[in-house]
């Protein structure tokens, strides 16, 4: 059983953290992962930095730019993660744009993920149809779960198609926006969360985009299985560094 499936079967709401690999310092990747696990985070999205992150807001853009300046590459990330399964056991998902994966070679990338113990990928600009036609077999061969996004604008029909193609969880983008913390969720989100909850999908949903604190985490996970915090975490680590992680996690999920 993939670690993602095992985690999803636990009887709790899942807290997931996104961070950009190689940020703030190039060698922070592993210490961040170890601290996240120690502080009770349930799963992690490790961001592969990209020069042109067109679905991201200013915070994640800036962290990507800095990570690339720090010398981060796909190759380097794999080197950093080589022994990660000796110290970290929570599910790990690589999240990034498709071009760097394409340049690495999709099969070589998946093989490397498998050897390291990466459990899944989120590649927002690899569309469903392309994935099904050209890459699905490779992902499956290496036991990698590919996670798809839905948004408030995704049609019911397409949500069902995505549910069908998914095997793990569905990444529910909270609102029509690029990544970045929002003030809170309004009626529109509540309606959307309710609508998805009643669709009886086979895959659980994890909400991302705009989750920044305990209130938004709780609102998002009222019905969904979990929620992902990205920009707010990156802001925190920019200000406080790795030592700020315990306090940040407790502010979302008090002991």
């Amino acid at each position: 059983m993939n670690r993602i499936h095992k985690k999803l079967s636990e009887d709790k709401k899942l807290l997931s953290i996104y961070f950009t690999a190689g940020y703030p310092e190039v060698n922070d990747t592993v210490p961040i992962l170890e601290s996240l696990e120690k502080n009770g985070v349930d799963l992690v999205e490790i961001g592969l930095p990209f020069s042109d992150p067109l679905a991201d807001g200013p915070t994640i853009q800036a962290s990507s730019t800095q990570a690339l300046l720090n010398g981060m590459t796909t190759q380097k990330l794999f080197e950093q993660l080589k022994d990660i399964r000796k110290t970290v056991s929570i599910p790990l998902i690589l999240m990034g744009y498709f071009n760097p994966v394409l340049q690495y070679g999709v099969e070589a990338f998946c093989k490397e993920c498998n050897e390291i113990g990466i459990d899944g990928c989120i590649l927002p600009d690899l569309p469903l149809a392309e994935y099904n036609a050209h890459y699905r077999a490779i992902f499956e061969k290496y036991n990698l779960i590919n996670i798809f996004l839905i948004t408030p604008q995704t049609s019911q029909e397409r949500i069902h198609a995505i549910d069908e193609a998914s095997n793990g969880f569905i990444y529910m983008v909270s609102s029509a926006s690029t990544t970045g913390a929002q003030e809170g969720f309004g009626n529109e989100q509540t309606t959307y969360f309710n609508r998805i909850a009643t669709m009886d999908l086979k895959n659980p949903q994890v909400v991302g985009f705009g989750i920044s604190n305990e209130a938004t985490f709780n609102a998002a996970t009222k019905q969904a299985k979990g929620a992902i915090i990205g920009s707010a975490f990156i802001k925190m680590i920019t200000e406080n560094g790795i030592s700020g992680i315990p306090k940040f996690i407790r502010s979302i999920r008090p002991l």
Partner: protein
């Protein structure tokens, strides 16, 4: 070979097996597609499902043609450049897109897309711009239709293209500086895409070239195809045949080139010449010659050739001409390059600037620096005396005066 066309709406099958147009899945050979995040899917899908239907509608065609005639000033002349031809000992015709309203071919596309946006009931228009030509052409049609217009422009380009920024403002557009990344055209495009993600319902994105996710490359090529449609008629009048021996155009993203080639793509008697910006030279690290320096990858939602590192990070191009300063080319051009159908030539800053002066002095036409790249090939690429060579004169040089002044100490 025969293909009958109504503004590129229908093309009959070719007898040779290679197809240079887009297929059902949105690909030109292996290039194209729609590599977009799910947030953009509904907008792009809405466009994909509707664009051919809308464009083939008679009322749409009538309105489009009328505006091209009455507002843009089409047809633009196909001018036989006598002195330029004598200099290079061949027959050169200039397709005068520089005489379009707003000074470049860009407006053919923005007229088409603003009508498309209205048919799709969009009330807010966004665009990216490099040199500012596409931004001006978009601001112009938004003023014409009374629609809100937001133009993203790299902070660096805002500085080097100040007159066009002022024009956009006069036309009522809001110009938003793109301050991310390298602060030029690719970043302006990223910002426009982010805006579209944040406004999924009321907004149409008028892309300025044959780039971006399917159906944009095909839609923009069809709107620009009026260029080669006119060349056919005009050449028939002047030379007794519809096709030249060569069509030459500069390629940034490739929209003026796509329009000039469009009706000749499947005619093997017509040589297709694409001219890219070599910048300071292909091997200097300061270049925008994508066919020479690019590899297959994904940029702005399209699988195409682009300049990138081994790690797949998109690199910063360089050209003296802001309109050619783009790290990719449209998927149609990637396919023309890869299949060998197109001949790709790259021209340095220096050669292009000199060609700009040459045309000014020989013909009394000051070309845009983008266009000067296409004119520069005659120095090295030799043609036969009776070859008919059509150069797409994509734009006029007014916007580039300060660059010409600084370069030549005029």
């Amino acid at each position: 070979m025969h293909d009958e066309i109504k503004n590129g709406i229908t093309r009959t099958e070719q007898n040779n097996s290679m197809n240079y147009n887009v297929n059902e899945q949105g690909y030109y050979g292996e290039f194209g597609g729609a590599y977009i995040p799910e947030m953009l899917y509904p907008n792009v899908e809405e466009l994909r499902q509707n664009y051919l239907k809308v464009m083939s509608d008679d009322a749409f065609q009538k309105e489009f043609k009328e505006l091209l005639k009455e507002y843009v000033g089409r047809p633009t002349p196909l001018y036989y450049a006598k002195r330029f031809s004598e200099k290079y000992n061949t027959k050169v015709y200039l397709k005068r897109e520089d005489l379009c309203h707003t000074g470049a071919h860009k407006v053919n596309n923005t007229i088409g897309q603003i009508l498309m946006a209205k048919r799709l009931k969009k009330t807010r228009i966004i665009a990216e711009t490099g040199a500012g030509q596409h931004g001006v052409a978009t601001a112009t049609v938004c003023a014409l239709m009374g629609l809100e217009c937001i133009v993203y422009m790299g902070a660096i380009d805002i500085e080097r293209q100040a007159p066009n920024v002022a024009r956009m403002k006069m036309l009522g557009a809001t110009v938003v500086p793109a301050t991310s990344g390298s602060k030029t055209l690719k970043d302006a495009t990223n910002e426009a895409i982010r805006d579209w993600i944040n406004h999924p319902e009321d907004t149409h994105y008028i892309i300025g070239s044959v780039v971006g996710p399917h159906p944009y490359p095909d839609m923009v090529a069809r709107f620009q195809s009026v260029i080669s449609e006119e060349i056919k008629t005009q050449l028939l009048e002047k030379e007794g045949r519809e096709h030249p021996d060569y069509v030459v155009a500069c390629v940034g993203g490739g929209s003026n080139a796509a329009g000039a080639y469009y009706h000749y793509l499947d005619n093997p008697d017509v040589g297709i010449i694409a001219v890219e910006a070599a910048g300071k030279g292909i091997d200097t690290g300061q270049s925008a010659a994508t066919s020479a320096l690019g590899k297959v990858g994904i940029i702005h939602g399209s699988k195409t050739l682009l300049m990138q590192t081994n790690d797949g990070q998109i690199t910063e191009p360089y050209s003296i001409s802001a309109g050619l300063d783009y790290p990719g080319v449209g998927p149609m051009h990637a396919h023309l390059f890869q299949s060998g159908r197109g001949e790709f030539i790259s021209i340095t800053d220096k050669a292009s600037m000199e060609a700009g002066i040459a045309l000014s002095k020989l013909e009394g036409i000051i070309p845009a620096i983008e266009t000067s790249h296409a004119l520069a090939i005659f120095e090295t690429r030799k043609f036969k005396p009776d070859d008919i060579v059509v150069v797409n004169l994509s734009g006029r040089g007014d916007k580039d005066l300060t660059t010409y002044i600084d370069y030549f100490n005029l």
